[in-house]
């Protein structure tokens, strides 16, 4: 393809985005409000669950790895939380993604609107939960005297939120699109995320991994974003190497996600 059609296509894209953006934002907002309201219907704790989950896991891992196995990481409880909170965002979004279009079948079948916004809104929903966990992390960091509440959070956190949000969006879009046709993918994701959890430096530090297994960590797409979050949340520094790697993965994920989605979306209404 020559440069001419690409630039024409880009300017067309930019124009249509500018025209549609306010309505798309309204759509994401309306879908997000729906997600949250539906999820917390008839629950007592509501958003508290997204705090309680990582806290309970952190306590469990602390007992297993600190109290029993005596892992050599200082301030291990806060260390765990700084990895578990962003991991929970990844994990929840990706575990929910196979059913994203299936659960909204009546919308997908009956109403013509940009269906990828369903995925965007579920990423935003989980991202909001993650955001609400950060003050709790800061409070606990103060309480335990581990980590710093840094001004770098103010500009570092938005960058990492965007990077992780895009990464999840891309993967979730591909997963959700394929799941419409192959329901097996849901099982695959459940299994995959369990394995990936232990191959991602969430409960240990990257440096602790023996050289033999380092490639496993390096090829895991989730390593970089988790490492970057922990550097920011615990030390108040931006680990640009990891941020860069995570951003590259995010861009790749969005490209793949949009491609898969655009190839399959016209079959959704027939297959659901």
């Amino acid at each position: 393809m020559s440069a001419q059609p690409i630039s024409a296509w880009l300017s067309h894209l930019a124009k249509s985005v500018a025209n549609e953006l306010p309505h798309y934002l309204d759509l994401v907002r309306a879908l997000t409000v729906k997600e949250i309201k539906v999820r917390y219907k008839r629950t007592v704790l509501g958003y508290g669950w997204s705090l309680l989950n990582p806290l309970v896991f952190a306590v469990t891992y602390w007992i297993a790895f600190k109290a029993i196995l005596n892992v050599k990481i200082e301030g291990y409880f806060i260390f765990l939380l700084a990895g578990l909170f962003p991991w929970q965002w990844l994990n929840n979004s990706l575990q929910l993604s196979p059913r994203a279009f299936i659960h909204n079948a009546s919308l997908v079948k009956k109403i013509a609107f940009p269906r990828y916004l369903i995925i965007a809104s579920s990423v935003v929903t989980e991202g909001l939960h993650f955001l609400l966990c950060l003050p709790v992390l800061a409070g606990l960091a103060l309480l335990f005297g581990r980590g710093t509440i840094s001004a770098a959070w103010l500009w570092g956190a938005p960058i990492l939120l965007l990077v992780q949000g895009l990464m999840i969006y891309g993967i979730a879009l591909a997963v959700a699109s394929c799941s419409v046709f192959f329901r097996d993918i849901e099982r695959l994701i459940g299994l995959g995320m369990t394995v990936l959890f232990y191959v991602t430096p969430v409960i240990y530090e990257r440096q602790m991994v023996p050289a033999m297994f380092q490639p496993l960590i390096a090829f895991n797409p989730f390593t970089y974003v988790i490492v970057a979050w922990r550097a920011l949340l615990l030390d108040g520094t931006m680990d640009w190497h990891s941020v860069g790697a995570a951003a590259a993965i995010a861009v790749g994920a969005v490209a793949v996600g949009q491609f898969v989605f655009s190839r399959l979306q016209w079959k959704f209404a027939e297959a659901l």
């Binding site: 306010p22 309505h23 309204d26 759509l27 907002r29 309306a30 879908l31 409000v33 729906k34 309201k37 539906v38 219907k41 909204n104 009546s106 919308l107 997908v108 079948k109 009956k110 109403i111 013509a112 609107f113 046709f181 192959f182 329901r183 097996d184 993918i185 695959l188 016209w266 079959k267 209404a269 027939e270 297959a271």
Partner: protein, 250 residues
């Protein structure tokens, strides 16, 4: 005639049957070429060489037996599916009234659902908020609008769905068998509303088995048979053609 607002040009639509089967990833991994071939081969033709032009401001009825492809025609116009062959041009804002209350979530209140549905159908949040009272009033649901929709009867849900759609600002209104639910009084109200849309120059595509409604509301009708537009013309002639094509009536 100026450029038609809806232009089906030799449109074909077939559905891949294997998409409906319990899709297994196993076959795809073990034998990808065959799995993909099977997927393409097994299909059911719904429309074939279907051509139809609808002029701006016209009301047209779509008639045909069950499974003839009426809903497929509406879904194509609404843009939720695409033609397999041929081309379809839709030159206007479509209100997808494919099914009343499509996308209503049972756990959300009527009011929340109106907001969600309104935005999904193309309104801005502020527009829905501004029209909220009028939507609730038209649906005659002032007393129960803040209850979850799962507590609504079918008729109440349909009333709310119609009311949201009636407050859109469409150029093309798609109506699929919606007047079958709701009591007589509300049906009359809906018909009055559809007439109002007609007066305002909105193009209407209407699917109904109620021949009386078709006669009342439509200028023209298309009868779908053998996957094609078997007859296009005025309503009485279309009804005669449709009746003649029914088995056991010739």
């Amino acid at each position: 005639m100026s450029q038609p607002i809806i232009d089906f040009d030799r449109v074909g639509k077939s559905y891949a049957l294997s998409l409906h089967r319990a899709g297994g990833i196993k076959n795809l991994i073990l034998n990808p070429p065959r799995a993909l071939r099977n997927m393409r081969a097994d299909s059911r033709v719904v429309l074939d060489n279907f051509s139809l032009q609808v002029a701006r401001g016209e009301s047209i009825a779509v008639m045909g037996r069950n499974g003839a492809g009426k809903s497929t025609v509406l879904a194509l116009i609404a843009g939720v599916i695409r033609p397999s062959t041929g081309t379809l041009a839709v030159n206007g804002r479509v209100s997808p009234l494919l099914e009343l209350g499509a996308g209503f979530h049972p756990e959300l209140t009527g009011r929340d659902n109106v907001m969600l549905n309104g935005v999904l159908l193309g309104m801005r949040r502020a527009e829905v908020a501004a029209r909220m009272d009028s939507i609730v009033e038209f649906a005659e649901l002032e007393d129960s609008i803040d209850e979850p929709v799962r507590t609504f009867s079918t008729g109440m849900t349909a009333r709310l769905g119609f009311s949201v759609a009636a407050h859109l600002d469409p150029e093309i209104l798609l109506i699929d068998e919606v007047l079958a639910v709701g009591d007589t009084a509300f049906q009359a109200k809906c018909i009055a509303k559809i007439r109002e849309f007609r007066r305002r120059g909105v193009t209407i595509v209407f699917v109904s088995h109620e021949l009386q409604h078709v006669t009342e509301l439509c200028d023209r009708a298309v009868v779908i048979a053998d996957h094609r537009a078997a007859f296009v013309g005025d309503v009485p002639a279309a009804i005669a053609h449709y009746a003649a094509s029914q088995p056991g009536s010739s």
